[in-house]
């Protein structure tokens, strides 16, 4: 196995034993990037020089006895995390040359651990989308099948990890933006509990739904990444106080006696039969490991999508308003006055951003506020209560991560609603703020990966990771690597 295809914990062993250096790992990563990036298009910005400087520093830290498992590990970061001195575009023309003067809290923590920042990955503009097709800069292709999307909005991060262009990545998840692309690209993605990871410095889409989490090659790596970025941050007023447990220590394979809920509302219409089969297969495996799988009901889940889009659009319309061309980023030329400068500048926003702004503005208008926004907040509470009730019986709840495997380009962008439906199983966890993990649970006939979603109680990432890890260890899935390089060469 190549260095650039290894997990963080495999690399950790090699680095600790002194068998490889961070520099060599990074060389392998950049060799892969140079070979496949033209096809995959995962990165918007590569930090080659800074990365090698960081790798050198990491090697010095390791030599000095640094024990952080992330020290010297090459990591990709979604381009909606602020990075000091490195442009942060959110894949939007409005932030074309915006260079933040500070690091996002999660990025700062990775750097403190000695991680190496490879580059900034592509996304749907401002994180709005489920295929990364809404990027205003470039197309990112699914390394498993270049004619298909990598998912979104963290599509660049997922593709980079899947293609061996980074050991792991940071993503953000507002309605499934970590888990759906992870599932499409055959990797692990974790959306932690709301408040566990500081949002400071991540360009907000919808503050009450935005989550930050790892995208990795296996569950152990997700635990290691989460360990580094979790914890109370005084700079995030929604950040939760409390001790952070040792996540790696929770990765016992023992899940005997755990109750696994399988909500019938998340196995319903629109679900691809191969995906359904894979999820039932996973449920059977968990049962064989001593868990008890029970069918449960989340009665308000059918309203989740509508509720989600009302709240998210409202918050997005507000958060994207600051991109007015006054202080930073793109400013339209030839404006006659301030108002025309606002209008012309904001015309540069992409279709989906404009659509959400229009919807959100509509939902918050006097006269509509009660009908839409306030009602959505009430349904959100009901959805939370559904989960609270379910978790009185269950330790975790499982479902498909996505209704289908990765779809082809252009397939869903024509009708926004079918695109929104790819978040149908993931967005409930954002509404409820609960932890949700996706692990690969098979491949379909076309050889595309399928994801299993595991949701848990608030701040019980340990159980979610334990179940995911047990499943992963016993599923016996062949660890396939997408063959991008062959295609490029051929």
């Amino acid at each position: 196995m190549q260095l650039n295809e290894m997990t963080i914990h495999q690399l950790r062993e090699l680095l600790r034993a002194g068998e490889v250096s961070s520099w060599e790992i990074l060389e392998a990563v950049f060799a892969k990037i140079d070979a496949v990036e033209g096809e995959v298009g995962a990165y918007l910005t590569l930090c080659r020089d800074e990365a090698f400087a960081q790798a050198q520093r990491a090697d010095e830290m390791l030599a000095a006895g640094e024990t952080s498992p992330l020290c010297g590990i090459p990591i990709a970061v979604k381009d909606n995390f602020s990075t000091a001195g490195v442009r942060t575009t959110c894949a939007s023309r409005l932030l074309e040359n915006y260079i933040p003067p500070f690091d996002a809290a999660a990025v700062a923590k990775l750097k403190k651990n000695g991680a190496v920042l490879v580059g900034k990955t592509n996304l749907d503009e401002f994180g709005l989308g489920s295929s990364t097709e809404n990027s205003q800069y470039q197309c990112t292709r699914n390394p498993w099948d270049l004619s298909r999307v990598p998912g979104g909005s963290s599509g660049g991060s997922a593709a980079a990890v899947a293609a061996g262009e980074a050991a792991a990545a940071l993503g953000t998840d507002t309605g499934g933006s970590i888990r759906q692309p992870a599932a499409f690209c055959g990797i692990v993605g974790l959306k932690p509990t709301y408040g566990l990871v500081s949002r400071y410095g991540v360009v907000a889409a919808a503050d009450s739904m935005d989550h930050i989490g790892p995208m990795t090659r296996d569950v152990r790596d997700a635990a290691l990444m989460l360990q580094a970025i979790a914890g109370w941050d005084p700079k995030d007023p929604t950040s939760a106080r409390g001790d952070v447990p040792d996540y790696e220590a929770s990765l016992t394979e023992n899940i005997k006696g755990l109750v696994v809920g399988l909500p019938r509302e998340l196995m319903g219409n629109g679900l691809d039969s191969e995906v359904k089969e894979a999820v039932f297969g996973a449920a059977n495996l968990l049962e064989s490991l001593g868990a008890r799988v029970e069918e449960i009901s989340l009665p308000h889940a059918e309203y989740a999508m509508a509720t989600f889009y009302v709240i998210v659009s409202a918050e997005i319309s507000s958060n994207l308003a600051r991109f007015d061309g006054v202080r930073y980023g793109y400013r339209a030329a030839e404006a006659e006055d301030t108002v025309s400068m606002f209008i012309k500048t904001r015309e540069a926003l992409g279709q989906e951003a404009k659509r959400r702004i229009l919807m959100g503005t509509y939902f918050l208008q006097a006269g509509n506020y009660e009908t839409y926004y306030l009602k959505a907040l009430k349904v959100r509470t009901l959805i939370k209560e559904d989960f609270e009730k379910a978790f009185q019986r269950c330790n975790v709840i499982i479902s498909p991560t996505t209704p289908t495997a990765a779809f082809a380009f252009g397939h869903k962008t024509r009708t926004p609603v079918t695109m929104y439906q790819s978040d149908i199983y993931t967005c409930t966890a954002n509404l409820a703020g609960i932890p949700a993990l996706t692990v690969p649970c098979g491949y379909n006939q076309a050889g595309l990966p399928i994801g299993l979603q595991i949701m848990g109680k608030p701040f019980d990432e340990e159980t979610v990771l334990r179940v995911g890890h047990a499943y992963e260890q016993h599923a016996g899935l062949p660890r396939r690597q997408p063959q991008t390089e062959v295609k490029t060469n051929g």
């Binding site: 932030l95 907000a204 308003a321 918050l364």
Partner: protein, 481 residues
């Protein structure tokens, strides 16, 4: 105005006296170089989040308590959304339907009757930055400059009930409000620095009617005087319209100080829908009753209570008590002086008179007076002891302000001590009587007015140092009248 009743409500913004801004750690000091007191948070850079300044909450609660409001245990921060270059996030973090404080009142003394003006709410919000337009006005400016030092300074908005019944009452209300906020050390309320701002809503209705008339909002009121003048203009304007059978257009009007008129602003502004919604980054603010009580402890004696106490404790007139409590500094000055000289009449006369006159002329507050209460007490003791005359004391005080020397030092250095011993006085009187035989005869003939002339002559001879009362007595003895 026989037929019409004026209905006025005010919206007042006051900047809080916190050292740092309401959602970040930047300094709030006035007058710094443009954009030198900013950070990623108050510049609204993408990804930044608001961190609520606890002290700002305390000051807003303090304001609410000073205005007799109920402090709501739970209040909600909401986004008020509109586009403007000085508004960095394109929304202002403010409060909407659940404000921090509600249902208070302020009492005013208007023509010797107490008027109670209701306070609808006091809520906490953040300031915007400042635009500077290059050119004559915003419409014709070649370019605009933006200073974000002010962006994010904590602000309270105080909204009155429509209880104000005249332009004068509006001014009196603002003066009282300023007094209360200054007493409570919530805001310095400097209108010229923009730390106190006021918009006014005004309408007219037929006397006896309970329905409200059509109101106009008046903006750009930059002084208390402007508030009164603009409202007086507006009363006449609306009255003329109504009496001519025309309708008042509901609109926002701009006060032009130099022309002394209000002008209609474009109606765009009033059509604004701010699309308020709860800020998802800030959980509902909980102010526990125990916290409110702790803040109440911080509250000083308020002006009305102090005024009543001054009348009761020192036997002062309503007028004197009002003047002395018209600023917390002045009241403190008076009371500190009273500790040394237990003569309320003497102290109040001097503090309200000479001291205040000098301070006003030099634009200083009582707290910044170069003559401290203890120094003034030193002078007044000399007056009490008849060591200097009132007239001389005024000169001595002037000297004290100018040099910072004590009254005692000045009197000794300049030999101003009053001459009260009979031996010295009799010698001077003998000389004066001899030199003025005419007036002496007049006195003897019963023209007592002439005594004044003789006393004056003695005073002149003594260079003002003779005790005039004793001189008077001694002349009477000598001439046996």
């Amino acid at each position: 105005m026989a037929d019409w009743e004026v209905v006025i409500g005010l919206e007042v913004h006051a900047e809080l006296l916190t050292k740092s801004k309401v959602f970040c750690g930047c300094s709030t000091e006035f007058g710094a170089d443009p954009n030198s007191q900013v950070c990623p948070i108050c510049m609204g850079l993408p990804g930044t989040l608001p961190l609520l300044n606890k002290r700002a909450v305390e000051l807003a609660v303090k304001a609410g308590l000073a205005l007799q409001c109920r402090v709501n245990q739970f209040s909600v921060f909401a986004r008020k959304q509109y586009f403007y270059p000085d508004l960095v996030k394109a929304y202002q973090i403010s409060q909407d339907d659940l404000p921090l404080c509600s249902d208070g009142h302020v009492e005013l003394l208007v023509d010797d009757t107490v008027r109670r003006i209701g306070i609808n709410r006091v809520h906490l919000e953040e300031e915007a930055g400042k635009s500077l337009h290059a050119g004559e006005d915003i419409m014709n400016a070649a370019y605009s400059l933006l200073d974000y030092n002010r962006a994010g300074i904590g602000l309270i908005e105080i909204v009155t009930e429509p209880d104000i019944r005249s332009p004068e009452e509006a001014r009196l209300f603002l003066e009282k409000l300023r007094l209360l906020l200054q007493y409570a050390e919530v805001s310095d309320c400097k209108m010229e620095e923009g730390s106190l701002r006021c918009d006014a809503n005004i309408s007219l209705r037929r006397k006896g009617s309970s329905a409200f008339g059509v109101k106009c909002e008046i903006k750009n009121l930059n002084s208390f005087r402007a508030v009164q003048r603009a409202l007086e203009f507006e009363v006449e304007r609306q009255k003329a319209l109504l009496e001519a059978g025309e309708a008042v257009v509901p609109e926002t009007r701009h006060w032009d100080e130099s022309q002394g008129m209000t002008f209609s602003m474009r109606s765009k502004v009033e059509a604004a829908d701010y699309r308020y919604f709860p800020d998802p980054n800030l959980y509902p603010l909980e102010v526990a009753p125990s916290w409110v009580e702790a803040i109440r402890e911080e509250l000083p004696e308020l002006p009305d209570a102090k005024r009543d106490r001054f009348m009761e404790q020192y036997g002062l007139s309503l007028y004197a008590a009002e003047v002395l409590t018209s600023s917390r500094d002045l009241a403190d000055y008076f009371e500190e002086c009273m500790e040394d000289i237990q003569d309320p009449k003497l102290v109040s006369n001097w503090v309200m008179g000479e001291v205040q006159r000098w301070l006003k002329a030099h634009g200083l507050e009582a707290a910044d007076s170069p003559v401290k209460p203890k120094d003034l007490a030193g002078l007044l003791r000399l007056v009490q002891e008849n060591a200097v005359s009132n007239l001389v004391a005024k000169d001595v005080l002037e000297e004290m302000f100018a040099t910072g020397k004590s009254a005692h030092t000045i009197v000794e250095e300049k030999g101003l001590r009053q001459i009260s011993d009979d031996e010295s006085l009799e010698a001077m009187i003998a000389e004066v009587l001899e030199a003025n035989p005419g007036p002496v005869e007049d006195v003897k003939a019963g023209k007592s007015k002439a005594i004044g002339f003789l006393v004056g002559q003695v005073m002149k001879a003594s260079k003002g140092k003779a005790n005039p009362q004793r001189v008077n007595e001694l002349i009477r003895q000598k001439l046996q009248v």
